[in-house]
Amino acid sequence: MVVPRFWRERRSRYSLIGTRCPVCGTVYFPPRSVCPKCGRKSVGKMEEVQLSGKGKVYSYTIVHQNVIGYKYQKPYVMAIIETPEGPKLTGQIVDVEPEKVHIGMPVHAVFRRIAEDGKAGIIQYGYKFIPDEE
């Protein structure tokens, strides 16, 4: 059973903690220790920043053939979400009829079970997205 691999990511997965480059101001999610734009100037200076969880659908798909652990969620909607802070991130959109999802749809992050290590292992929690109220 795997524990630390998931445990060490908990803050970003629970609370959308990313990083900001103090040199150019670009926000990254997940956190990075080097800004790809500023390189060495940013090393050791990246600052933590929390995303608001707001966003819009940048692209999406309805998954019918799953990776291990997602068998009973299919068909499920995967999306790339564009955030107002800058970074895009990948996550499921839930509580929605897949056919209603569209590019540009406003969504926000919610806290859900993402995966679990079999019946006896650790439950991994993190972000998914749901449509904003119409």
Binding site: G69, Y72, F111, I123
Partner: protein, 347 residues
């Protein structure tokens, strides 16, 4: 003044109509409505559990008023469906809040673990140990398919942050009552709870709620007519009216806080969410009495007065209970079984 500083609820979007459940088991479709006063119940999605509901309820509370994690001194999470048998839900909440210095613990007392959490936090604030504490009642309760509980066992939760500054609802008094009455239970390792049928009524629900409510009003020196709202534990749509009537409350005091007809019995989330529904509409000076019941059996009661601070409080920053009740997606029984993992195993 010690009381509620902010609050928030969460009800999953999915519902199953009780008539659909009746269809499965050969009951008349009107039976659950007429017999139990239940029209529908909330169903957690495949990826929801008592912990995710707790986090969403808490986030709704924080949307209304943000209390930084480092100011939170206690976290109690009451549930009978904690995702782990061993491993606290409260530690997950602490991590989400960034409340690393909090006293954190899970509680279980059938349907009253949520109010037990509130009472614990209230006590710690009142004792001066902490400035703010989080109390959550949350459940994805289990009902065995075909059992009477299949009509009612639902999912939802409410989070309260209790403190002494900028209190929107003062807790004037709180009392409890407990006896060893096994009306409903689940043995270790059993998937579904068992219950004593009609034994859950008179010697359990009614005796405990009535005893606690009377004790509270005696301590507070109040009568039923002194209250604008009364919230009772709501295992179905009928018991709260029945116990209220026997205590001398009127239908209009009971109805605003009675949501089980539309979402079922959210167990540890029940009384806290009923109270949350009332706080969504309450005005300064309104007085509320809330009485929970937990099988096994006990009851906690609270005498609460809404303060002027409610005028400054941003209730609209998070969805109200009725917003969430109205935001429903109805599913069939097969989908219900899938979501509740009754026909699938983890792969």
């Amino acid at each position: 003044m010690v009381g509620i500083v902010t609050y928030g609820s969460y009800i999953p979007i999915y519902r199953i109509k009780t008539a659909e459940i009746a269809r499965m088991w050969g009951d008349k479709p009107e039976h659950p409505e007429k017999g139990l006063g239940l029209f529908a119940k909330s169903v957690p999605a495949y990826d929801e559990d008592a912990a995710t509901i707790a986090v969403e309820a808490l986030r709704n509370a924080l949307r209304r008023k943000n209390i930084p994690g480092d100011k939170i001194g206690a976290i109690f999470v009451g549930s009978e469906s904690h995702p782990y048998a061993v491993k606290p839900t409260a530690s997950l909440i602490a991590e989400v809040l960034g409340a690393y210095r909090a006293h954190a613990a899970d509680l279980e007392f059938a349907c009253k673990a949520g109010t037990a959490a509130m009472q614990n936090v209230y006590a710690m604030v009142k004792a001066g140990m902490i400035d703010y504490g989080v109390a959550i009642g949350t459940d994805t309760s289990q009902g065995q398919p075909g059992d009477a509980l299949d009509y009612s066992a639902s999912a939802g939760g409410t989070a309260y942050i209790i403190g002494k500054d900028e209190v929107i609802a003062e807790i004037n008094h709180t009392v409890s009552f407990v006896t060893d009455t096994p009306d409903f239970w689940r043995r270790e390792g059993q998937r579904y709870p068992s219950h004593g049928g009609r034994f859950t009524g008179e010697p359990a629900y009614f005796k405990h709620i009535m005893s606690t409510a009377k004790m509270l009003m005696e301590e507070a020196g109040t009568k039923p007519e002194d209250y604008d709202y009364v919230v009772f534990h709501q295992p179905n749509g009928k018991f709260p009216y029945r116990v209220g009537k026997r205590l001398g409350f009127k239908e209009e005091q009971i109805k605003p806080g009675l949501i089980s007809p539309y979402i079922g019995n959210t167990y540890s989330g029940g009384t806290p969410t009923g109270l949350s529904t009332v706080l969504d509409i309450a005005k300064p000076e309104d007085r509320i009495i809330a009485v929970s019941f937990g099988s096994g059996a006990g009851s906690d009661a609270f005498d609460i007065t809404v303060t002027d601070e409610m005028e400054n409080f941003n209730r609209d920053a998070a969805p109200k209970v009725w917003d969430m009740i109205n935001r429903a997606k109805y599913i069939d029984y097969a989908t219900y079984l899938k979501f509740r993992r009754m026909i699938v195993e983890v792969d």
